[in-house]
Symmetry: C2
Subunit: 205 residues, 2 copies
DNA sequence: GTCTATAGAAGGATAGAC
DNA sequence: GTCTATCCTTCTATAGAC
């Protein structure tokens, strides 16, 4: 593969990412992607056979990137409270830098759930539970976190972090009426969310 | 307007609702809507000039329905804790009966935020804050809920309720791997969410 | 590998008969 | 008010020259 191959292929991939994330699979046009990449429309098909192939390449890259972001929490050597603080800081921070990813992913997955099947085959509560039990046995007992409660808790944490981005369109519009700055809201949310969750757990003693 | 007019117009509207909610504006086809309604494609244009007009009619009806669901909390004569319990029970219940609405609305609003501008012109934190101050002055003080914190709190509550539906595609797929039933998860979430939020507030004293 | 030109299909919209 | 037929545009995809 020559240098110019790579360059063109990458330009296409980046342009496709921009357009697909912005307009979704159905709303995107191959011509629009070609224009963004500054190349001829035929080249899209030369490098990526069809619109479907191109979309799948983009989707899988983004989905993989997104799901990885949930992992590092389990690698850090921190107390459970600090892990919660760490998660919200890192995760909301990541989404601030990529604010359109949640809406894109959630929507495309709802449209076609089969897409994620292979990507999340190895995600399992049991695994999470065992890692947590190993790392934080005392805190789990203190907070009365059971294996049955874990999905509710984890999805609640994800909700608090991800939802403002999934609902960005409404929230930004709402905030306009109210003298609230969306970025400021997000910045403050890192601390608010962590405190909120930790308080909820502490009171569960 | 004759009886048959109303019937046809309604059949079109209902078919359009089904198709648009399922596939989104960009993914929907007029032919598909006509088939669902069991009528000729031309009739769509006869009753609703264009695809855009038809979509807007559907969108506004649904958005209005959805936003109204947040209101009755303020009408009930309950303690703040009971209002929180009431909200999650009613709201998650409503979404269980209309599980596709959140994803549809969030996506279409992100795609075109202008759509909601007129619908939420009268939504305002000040109004919420004043209603709450009137109804629950003691509890607000006890839980240290300030006017600045209110948006964070309200959006957190909305997140916990709405996000599982917005992320239905992923969650249902995830749950398949784990012997968790989505409906069962939702049923339990009503109580979990209320307790979680109330605990978080109680510990904020 | 990159371009021009165009095929071929699909979709939104309208004209006109009944 | 409802249907058939068709226009016109747009979009994906490919053929073929360079």
């Amino acid at each position: 593969m020559t240098d110019s191959d790579r360059q063109t292929e990458e330009k296409i991939f980046e342009a496709a990412t921009d357009v697909f994330v912005e307009k979704g699979m159905d709303g995107s046009r191959m011509q629009d992607i070609a224009n963004h990449a500054g190349i001829n429309k035929s080249l899209l098909h030369y490098y990526y056979r069809s619109k479907d192939h191109l979309f799948n390449a983009v989707f899988e890259k983004i989905a993989d990137e997104m799901f990885r972001k949930f992992a590092p929490v389990f690698d850090e050597n921190l107390s459970l409270d600090d892990k919660i603080r760490f998660f919200f800081r890192e995760h909301i921070g990541f989404l601030q830098r990529n604010p359109r990813l949640p809406a894109f992913l959630l929507n495309e997955i709802n449209r076609n759930p089969g897409r994620v099947k292979k990507l999340i085959r190895n995600v399992n509560v049991n695994k999470f539970w065992m890692m947590l039990m190993e790392q934080h046995p005392d805190e789990l007992a203190e907070y009365r976190i059971t294996k049955e409660l874990l999905p509710q808790l984890m999805i609640t944490i994800a909700s608090i972090s991800v939802f403002p981005f999934a609902a960005r369109g409404i929230l930004e519009t709402l905030f306009e009426n109210m003298d609230i700055d969306f970025d400021d809201f997000l910045e403050k949310r890192k601390e608010f969310a962590a405190t909120f969750v930790i308080n909820a757990l502490k009171n569960n003693k």
